[in-house]
């Protein structure tokens, strides 16, 4: 862990130190606030408390109440005022406390944020980042475990990304804030406490809207993003013991999709399994399956299979482990693909 912030001094973090994904986001936000005085952070409890997940911990103390704003408890207000602040020249980073709380702001996001550039014939840019912790696995009550990414990826004018590890979290949040596009930034909340190496001063190895190969393999392609990347990697490790080499692609960007690495992989493996927590019906997996089929039709040995949440409301916490795709369900899909 990095030393806690004291007195507004830049955080010291030796190259490659291992920190949590949550801390990496915190470092990234801090760096963005330092770099551009127009960057502001706003949301419920993001100031004194540092956010319910402590992602904004210490930022208000160091950057002041005007730049790290504790807002009234009104999500539409958070996004709606962020639009006005962006028109004024600011670069707001909004925190929505939980996935299920974004819907009061849905109109402002899908009818205003997404369309202002188009409506104004390119004269008004809204460089807004809307951070949303998403996904289940933390034993929470209703509205705290959802995966609404497809709703936003389906909306033209928005870009949607998600990170799966601390190094990406640190860089992607900064890239998102620097971008002039409005960006929905999904954070895998159950991975907030997962640790990984982060190099604070290294340049980003990828542009924001690019996917990456998280693990090389030759036998089947597993496509995942956000919290499911870890699950996919665990499945790949287990499959190796059975003699199968799974290639894992971490999408990172959900809109636009960057499926070049997926096509390349599928042309090599002939098998493709898409994994996400969100319900399967009309989810990202459907679109990916369609595109992979169009692009890799003659390479496929089996249809693209999906391992997803079920088409039900997110269930009670005591059964969520049965709802969430896990290592076994991924491997089961791989088996089915090979048995097709």
């Amino acid at each position: 862990m990095a030393a806690p912030t004291r007195g507004g001094k830049p955080q010291q973090n030796p190259v490659g130190e291992t920190i949590t994904l949550g801390k990496a986001l915190n470092h990234g936000l801090r760096r963005a606030l330092e770099t551009d005085s127009k960057v502001i952070v706003m949301g419920e409890d993001v100031g004194k408390l540092g956010g319910v997940f402590r992602i904004t911990d210490g930022l208000q103390k160091d950057f002041g109440e005007d730049r790290v704003i504790d807002t009234p408890l009104a999500e539409s207000g958070i996004v709606g005022t962020a639009i006005g602040l962006a028109i004024r020249g600011y670069r707001p980073v909004c925190e929505i406390q939980f996935d299920g709380f974004v819907f009061p702001a849905f109109n402002q996001i899908v009818a205003q944020v997404s369309k202002m550039f188009y409506r104004s014939l390119g004269k008004v840019r809204l460089p807004i980042v809307i951070r949303i912790p998403f996904g289940g696995g933390i034993g929470a009550v209703e509205h705290h475990s959802e995966s609404p990414e497809a709703l936003f990826a389906h909306t033209p004018g928005l870009k949607v990304v998600t990170c799966s590890n601390p190094a990406d979290a640190y860089l992607m949040i900064q890239q998102a804030i620097t971008s002039d596009d409005p960006i929905i930034f999904f954070e895998p909340k159950r991975r907030y406490w997962d640790k990984g190496p982060v190099e604070l001063d290294a340049p980003a190895p990828f542009p924001l809207h690019s996917s990456r190969v998280a693990r090389d393999g030759t036998d089947a392609t597993i496509v995942a993003y956000g919290p499911m990347v870890k699950t996919a990697l665990e499945a790949a490790a287990a499959a190796e013991e059975d003699g199968r080499q799974l290639e894992v692609i971490d999408l990172r960007t959900l809109s636009p999709l960057d499926l070049g690495p997926v096509y390349e992989s599928v042309r090599k493996t002939g098998h493709c399994v898409v994994v996400h927590e969100a319900p399967g019906n009309l989810g990202l997996g459907s679109e990916i399956a369609a595109r992979v089929t169009e692009e890799c039709f003659y390479s496929l040995e089996a249809p693209v299979l999906r391992v997803t949440g079920f088409d039900i409301p997110y269930p009670a916490a005591r059964v969520e482990e049965e709802y969430l795709p896990d290592l076994d369900r991924v491997l089961d899909a791989v088996d089915r693909s090979f048995g097709w």
């Binding site: 207000g77 962020a82 602040l85 550039f117 104004s120 004269k123």
Partner: protein, 379 residues
């Protein structure tokens, strides 16, 4: 701040309103509301005449638009008929540095901001979504989802404070336009909360035209709209929305309070939508002719004309020349609207993302190829 007192307009609704020019064209020198605020205007003769010219011009342009819609040249039109004084008065009260956030009916305010009146016709004709530069003219894009723009205005006003641009007479302020129906929207109430809490330099200008399409005011509120502000911690004041002088005086005072760091004000401009909600509406289904007739007697232009005549500030030659120049402007507008080209279909792919998108680029290319495949055929 509450209205009150017998001087606040003989024809006012219960609770009174600020009126500086009666429907008969009589000037009221000043009005003092219950909280002790005194409103007055101090216009030169020329300024009175220019206000009259504004009112006549925006009504004439509006009439031309209604005609164009009836002739099939516009898909739809949202007429401002009857609301000219509320819009011109408040619009002229803005100082150059002030920012306005309109709905889709603020053609009169748009005109006062110096924007070419043809600009909104792209939207209503269906060739684009608008197109003026909000930052150049300090007048944001039209917003159609009811009330959404009040939050944008609030955020913009918060930005003014953060920029240190309040606290003196040169400060900046924001005006957010909306209607009586919008006051039921969550976004408007959130905008009130945020503006109150952050003491934002903003004026909420509600044109209460008595109807949200067919629904009367009684379906939106149990108390006068201007009194709602008290629950959010800032003053509210009702004006005679058909009185351009009151609209100017109260808006100017409220904007100046805002720019000086005194926080928000809610203004309820009590007026009437003389026409339909839009060209697709049929108001005879929900309101009676006598009601419309009674509001005709309160016409915003007739009362200013009456005042100018009685005070011998203008004569028929002047009125005739104003009508003539307004007509010329309207006919010029008509010709330019008719000459508006349909956009090239490929342009629909423009301006989706500031930094572009490979997916949109691909679809644009595929569409181009598809279009090109018809070249030389009978299509």
């Amino acid at each position: 701040m509450a209205n009150g007192g017998s001087e606040l307009g003989a024809d006012a609704p219960a609770g009174g309103f600020v009126q500086l020019l009666t429907p008969d064209g009589e000037r009221v020198d000043s009005v003092t509301t219950a909280d002790g605020t005194t409103y007055r205007v101090d216009f030169t003769d020329d300024e009175y005449r220019e206000l009259y010219r504004d009112l006549v011009t925006v009504r004439r342009l509006d009439a031309e638009a209604t005609a164009l819609q009836r002739q099939g040249e516009l898909g739809i039109w949202a007429s401002l008929l009857g609301q000219e004084a509320a819009q011109v008065g408040s619009g002229r009260a803005l100082r150059p540095q002030d920012m306005a956030f309109p709905t889709y009916r603020e053609h009169g305010v748009l005109y006062t901001r110096g924007i070419d009146p043809i600009m909104p016709f792209g939207l209503f004709r269906g060739v684009d979504q608008g197109g003026w530069d909000p930052n150049e003219f300090k007048f944001n894009t039209y917003t159609i989802v009811i009330g959404a723009q009040t939050l944008h205005a609030t955020g913009y006003a918060m930005g003014i404070t953060m920029d240190g641009k309040t606290g003196n007479a040169d400060g900046e302020a924001v005006i957010a336009y909306f209607g009586d129906g919008a006051t039921s929207q969550g976004d408007v109430n959130e905008a009130f909360v945020w503006s109150g809490v952050f003491h934002a330099p903003i004026v909420f200008f509600c044109q209460n035209n008595q109807y949200a399409i067919s629904e009367p005011l009684e379906r939106q509120t149990r108390i006068p709209i201007y009194r709602r502000s008290l629950g959010y911690g800032f003053p509210g004041v009702r004006i005679d929305g058909n009185d351009v002088l009151a609209s100017f005086a109260v808006t100017r005072a409220a904007l100046d309070l805002a720019r000086n760091g005194q926080g928000p004000t809610l203004i309820e401009a009590y007026t009437y939508r003389m026409g339909a909600h839009t060209s697709s509406d049929d108001p005879t289904r929900y309101r009676i002719a006598s009601e419309v007739e009674s509001w005709k007697a309160k016409d915003p232009i007739a009362r200013l004309k009456s005042f100018l005549t009685k005070q011998q500030l203008a004569d028929d030659t002047f009125f005739g020349s104003v009508d003539e120049s307004a007509r010329d402007l309207a006919l010029d507008l008509r010709e330019r609207v008719l000459a508006m080209p349909d956009p090239a279909p490929i342009s629909m792919f423009d301006n989706v993302y500031p930094t572009g998108s490979p997916e949109v680029d691909l679809q644009r290319k595929q569409f181009e190829q598809y279009q090109a495949s018809f070249e030389g055929s009978a299509h």
